[in-house]
């Protein structure tokens, strides 16, 4: 018996790397990177991170949360039929084509997939249902709990890494002033180890699986599940805003999971869980956007110095551990008010740079570093600046 289980596990691991989504998302994340770079080049005349940056995030940051979620799903014995997984895959791919990470939230993807699956069951779409083993035997409470757990994981992953290396952008306010924004547009790969109803293995434990597996037998499937999180921030630091939203997403996920668990007692609550997930996530997005718009602009021009809007990786700015939102007041002892001041002050001593910075805590600190040939001419810092400043620097005034 243990040999059979071992073979099943190896087979599922092999299928993981053959899954179309695994490879499809390499192309999609490169497309994410391409679109981001085009926007950054248009705004700042330089890219911030390379095209592979999104790929690194997608294929690394979600691994541990995905494995933890797999352990929980396996422990509960939640089974997802192949038919529903196929719908989830199609909806995920469709959402990915929009290149909007926020549309790839589990709250949208799985909820919509569940509604489609429910519709197929009601309308007896035989040609579709017959293509899959066990027909389309969905244990809705199990899927509702699965949805809740996915949303919690999405929130947790977003809390941990969505604020890292956000992409800066510049917009013009209603008064015609340049305003900085931070765009988080992240997708993560969660390797999910699932039980799928069908011929194969049977449990000899009375207490496991907790949720009934249709037909009694099941096999393992290791699937690449992609979850997305997108947010625009202009009224606060990205870390603050994103983490607030991520916490709220976790709470939403918890509510959905509780409703899903309660639907074991009364099945219609699974529908309530789906609606809660879908409407709750839409509400959270709208709430964040409204709150952000109502807040005063965080990334705007400041009287006391230059605000850091972005930091290019592998540049002196990264070495100096500058943070987005910090204000540079002096460079090499010279007060700076605009980008041309900053550039001129750097020229005073190109072998060494000394910065006076107002940190995120409001305290003044000093940073210094040797400057080497071939390094970024502005230390790799992007500022909130006017197009007129660019013209002034270009003309040498």
């Amino acid at each position: 018996m243990s040999v059979q289980w071992g073979i099943e596990l190896l087979k599922s691991a092999g299928l993981f790397f053959l899954h179309p989504l695994f490879w499809f998302f390499i192309i999609i994340t490169l497309a994410f990177g391409y679109v981001r770079i085009k926007r950054e080049r248009k705004t700042f005349h330089t890219r911030i991170a390379d095209i592979y940056d999104d790929l690194k995030f997608t294929y690394t940051k979600g691994l541990i949360p995905g494995l933890l979620l797999s352990v929980i799903l396996g422990g509960l014995g939640i089974s997802i039929p192949l038919g529903l997984l196929a719908i989830i895959a199609v909806i995920t791919a469709a959402a990915a084509f929009t290149l909007r990470a926020n549309w790839m939230s589990a709250a949208y993807i799985v909820s919509v997939s569940m509604l489609i699956g429910f519709g197929l069951q009601i309308y007896q779409a035989e040609p579709f249902l017959e293509r899959f083993p066990q027909g389309f035997a969905v244990v809705w409470p199990a899927v509702a709990v699965f949805l809740g757990l996915l949303i919690i994981t999405e929130g947790a992953v977003a809390y941990r890494s969505a604020h890292v290396r956000t992409s800066p952008a510049l917009v013009v306010s209603s008064r015609g002033l340049p305003i900085g924004q931070q765009l988080a547009n992240r997708v993560w790969l969660l390797p999910l180890f699932l039980l799928v109803p069908g011929n194969g293995l049977e449990s000899h434990l009375s207490w496991w699986p907790v949720f009934t597996v249709p037909g009694g037998s099941f096999h393992f499937l290791w699937i690449p599940y992609f979850v997305g999180f997108g947010q625009r921030v202009q009224g606060s630091l990205p870390e603050t805003s994103i983490r607030i939203t991520a916490k709220r997403v976790c709470i939403l996920g918890l509510a959905v999971a509780v409703l899903g668990a309660a639907s074991l007692l009364w099945t219609p609550l699974a529908g309530a869980a789906v609606c809660t997930a879908l409407l709750g996530r839409i509400f959270l997005s709208i709430k964040q956007r409204v709150n952000d718009n109502a807040a005063p602009f965080y990334f705007s021009k400041r009287d006391q110095g230059l605000m850091v809007l972005g930091i290019i990786p592998n540049t002196p700015a990264e070495d100096l551990e500058l943070k987005i939102g910090e204000i540079i007041t002096k460079v090499n002892g010279i007060p700076v008010k605009n980008v041309s001041d900053f550039y001129e002050a750097l020229q005073h001593n190109r072998a060494y740079v000394k910065l006076e910075i107002i940190g995120l805590n409001g305290e003044i600190r000093f940073d210094q570093r040797a400057s080497y040939e071939g390094e970024h001419h502005e230390l790799g810092i992007l500022f909130v600046k006017d197009d007129r400043e660019d013209e002034a620097v270009a003309s040498g005034s």
Binding site: Y52, K56, T60, Q347, H348, N349, R350, A351, Y352, Q368, R369, A370, S371, Y372, E373, G374, E375
Partner: protein
């Protein structure tokens, strides 16, 4: 009127004489009239590094004691037309043979004729140091990334800051071995500068060619392709007021694993 720059360190063997020779050479290459003054009386070396040891007739002690006129003691480096001269130290006398006031007067006289007077200071903080510093307008502190050298440099900086006539000293970090710095086995540039709290003038990587060139009496600054030469020329350009970034230190080739690690953002 020119300016006098003293090259000092506190610790011996960090490369004061090499720096003096190469800085003087680099300034001459850049078209400035330079006089190198060796104040290491009793242990002169600058003449050997410059390849001028066989042409010395009079020395610094002869000048201050009035046994010869100043231009008689100056040794012209024929490789640089009329741009580079050496005032050699005496080998027979000791450091008490001259007083700071005498050196000051001599340097003052040299400044009338030269754009730059580079004073090579002996090690330590005794009489020889006081002599060398007496006539200087500016100071360059040379150190290596070793803690002992940095500590001695710190002591020298403290003494230089007490001198009223000298501008705040600037720092040259010499004989940098990048692999040791990368591994954290020696202090890195930023640590040294933060510790000493003075402006960085330049860095020079450790290079065997510097020693070979010194042994042949040809300062490395004469070789336009050598990395150390470029470093010295950059220091000279900074002295002239140009804003020049530091030279990138030699990177070791990345292995396959290091490349994979860096792709995934893992810092080794």
């Amino acid at each position: 009127m020119g300016e006098a720059i003293v090259i000092t360190s506190g610790k011996g063997g960090v490369g004061k004489t090499t720096t003096s020779a190469n800085l003087g050479t680099a300034l001459a290459i850049l078209g400035k009239r330079v006089c190198l003054v060796d104040t290491d009386i009793g242990l002169r070396n600058l003449d050997v590094v410059m390849g001028l040891e066989n042409r010395i007739i009079y020395d610094l002690v002869d000048v201050v004691e009035g046994r010869c006129k100043m231009h008689q003691a100056l040794v012209k480096d024929k490789r640089f037309d009329d741009l580079l001269y050496l005032m050699p130290a005496a080998q027979t006398s000791d450091k008490t043979a001259v007083a700071p006031e005498q050196i000051k007067n001599m340097v003052q006289e040299l400044k009338q004729e030269f754009d730059y007077v580079i004073i090579d200071c002996p090690a330590g903080i005794e009489q020889g140091y006081k002599n060398a510093v007496s006539g200087a307008d500016k100071a360059i502190v040379v150190t290596t990334p070793e803690i002992s050298a940095v500590r001695d440099a710190d002591r020298i900086i403290g003494l230089l800051e007490q001198e009223e006539n000298i501008e705040p000293p600037r720092l040259v970090v010499n004989r940098i071995r990048n692999h040791l710095m990368k591994n954290g086995d020696t202090m890195d540039i930023d640590e040294i500068v933060q510790h000493l709290s003075i402006d960085l003038l330049g860095i020079v990587a450790d290079d065997d060619e510097v020693i070979k060139a010194s042994n042949h009496g040809e300062p490395i600054a004469m070789d336009p392709k050598n990395r150390a030469s470029i470093a010295y020329r950059n220091i000279a350009r900074r002295i002239l007021g140009e804003s020049v970034p530091l030279q990138v230190l030699e990177e070791q080739n990345k292995g396959m694993m290091a490349k994979i690690k860096s792709f995934f953002g893992v810092r080794s």
